[in-house]
C-alpha cells in the first residue's frame, strides 16, 4: 500500500517537533502530591501518538488492522515535579531510525513556567498486525520519517540521551 486507507495529516514544520500539549490530570497524582512516575510515561506515550500521527501510523493504523507500534526500551529522567492541572508542552527529537525502528527523545516542559520537568528516550518498533512481529515501516511512513530525520539532524543531541543509570560520586 502506497497510501493508508485514512487521511494523512499535514507534516508539521520545525525542529524539534513541538505540537503536543497536555494537562496533568487529577488521577495522575500520587500520595506525594505530584504526578506519579508511571503517569509521566502515560503523558509521554500520548506525545508518541502525536509523533506516530505524523508518520501515518497512529490509532487508525491499528484500527484498520494494518500494524501497531511497540516500545522496546524507555529511559526517563525526572527533572522537576509537576502538579495537578499544570499545563505541559512536550517536544520530540528524532535521534536515529532504520527500516523498522525510530529512536527519539521527548522533553516535557511546564508550558507556562517553562522549566524542564522530564525527558523520555524511546526505541519504537513497527509491528505487523497479523503476525505481531517486527516489520518494515509502511510505504507512506518512511518518507515522513526521513523528512523529519533530515529536519532534526543538526539539532544538538540532548544531554539526557544515551545516559547510563548510576549513582555519580564526586
Amino acid at each position: 500500500m502506497k497510501l493508508p486507507p485514512y487521511p494523512m495529516i499535514e507534516a508539521a514544520a520545525g525542529a524539534p517537533l513541538d505540537i503536543h500539549r497536555a494537562t496533568v490530570l487529577p488521577e495522575w497524582i500520587d500520595w506525594n502530591g505530584h504526578m506519579n512516575v508511571g503517569f509521566y510515561v502515560v503523558a509521554f506515550d500520548k506525545a508518541t501518538d502525536t509523533l506516530c500521527n505524523q508518520f501515518g501510523v497512529g490509532w487508525e493504523y491499528t484500527r484498520e488492522k494494518i500494524g501497531m507500534t511497540f516500545v522496546l526500551e524507555a529511559h526517563v529522567t525526572y527533572d522537576r515535579e509537576v502538579r495537578e492541572g499544570d499545563p505541559l508542552r512536550i517536544t520530540t527529537q528524532l535521534l536515529d531510525h532504520d527500516s523498522k525502528r525510530v529512536h527519539y527523545i521527548h522533553a516535557m516542559y511546564h508550558a507556562t513556567e517553562g522549566y524542564l520537568a522530564a525527558t523520555n528516550e524511546l526505541m519504537l518498533m513497527n509491528i505487523d498486525y497479523a503476525t505481531r512481529r517486527s516489520a518494515p515501516w509502511p510505504a507512506w511512513a518512511m518518507p515522513r520519517i526521513e523528512q523529519m530525520a533530515e529536519a532534526h539532524k543538526h539539532l544538538p543531541k540532548p544531554r539526557q540521551a544515551g545516559r547510563i543509570i548510576g549513582i555519580k560520586r564526586k
Binding site: W31, N32, N36, V37, G38, F39, Y40, V41, V42, F44, D45, W59, T62, M68, F70, V71, L72, E73, A74, H75, V76, T77, Y78, D96, H97, D98, S99, R101, H103, E121, L122, M123, A161, G162, R163, I164, I165, G166, I167, R169
Partner: protein
C-alpha cells in the same frame, strides 16, 4: 545527620535477589494494542520499588507520619515480552549500589505462571525530607537495613541489562 524513625520496623528480608513483590496486570493498564501499556510497566515496577522501601522501613507510615518520601530520579525499562490483562507478575529486586541518600535498584518482572521475563527496570530512588521536599540522608534504621541488604547483594553478578545505553544496533542501522 540522619533521623530516627519513631515506629516499629518490619522484619528485614535479605534474600539475594529480593522477591518481595507480586501483582496482577489490571484491566485499565491494557491499551489499544491489547497488552499492558508501557507506562503501566513503570507503575508496576514503582510498586516493586515501594516493596523494597517497605523492607527498609519506609512504607506508608513514613509518608503519612510526614517523616519523608522517596522520589524516583531516573528509570530505564526494557520491554522483553508482552503481558495481557489479568497476567500474574512476580518481581525480583537487586540492590546495585547505594549511598547516603540514594539507591540504585534493578527489578525483573516475570510472568508468575509461565515463568518468562517480561521486562526489566533499572532505577535510582532518592530519599526526600518531607518538610523541605529536598534530598536528605536515609533515616538511621533504613541506612542500617540498606547495609544489610548490600552485604547480601554486593557479590551477585551484575545483570546483563543493567547500565544499557539506548541505540540502534550498528550493523542494522540505515
Amino acid at each position: 545527620m540522619s533521623a530516627i524513625l519513631p515506629y516499629e520496623m518490619p522484619a528485614l528480608v535479605t534474600t539475594a535477589p529480593l522477591g518481595l513483590h507480586r501483582s496482577t496486570v489490571l484491566p485499565e493498564w491494557v491499551d489499544w494494542n491489547g497488552h499492558m501499556n508501557l507506562a503501566f510497566y513503570v507503575t508496576a515496577f514503582d510498586q516493586a520499588s515501594g516493596a523494597f522501601m517497605r523492607n527498609m522501613g519506609l512504607g506508608r507510615r513514613y509518608v503519612d507520619g510526614k517523616h519523608g518520601m522517596t522520589f524516583v530520579l531516573e528509570t530505564h525499562v526494557t520491554y522483553d515480552r508482552e503481558m495481557k490483562g489479568g497476567a500474574p507478575m512476580r518481581f525480583t529486586t537487586q540492590l546495585l549500589d547505594r549511598d547516603a541518600k540514594r539507591v540504585h535498584l534493578f527489578h525483573e518482572m516475570y510472568h508468575a505462571d509461565e515463568g518468562y521475563l517480561a521486562a526489566t527496570n533499572e532505577t535510582i530512588v532518592m530519599n526526600i525530607d518531607y518538610a523541605s521536599r529536598r534530598s536528605a540522608p536515609w533515616p538511621q534504621q533504613a541506612a542500617e537495613r540498606l547495609e544489610q541488604v548490600w552485604t547480601a547483594h554486593q557479590h551477585l553478578p551484575r545483570p546483563a541489562k543493567a547500565g544499557r545505553v539506548m541505540g540502534l544496533p550498528k550493523k542494522l542501522s540505515s
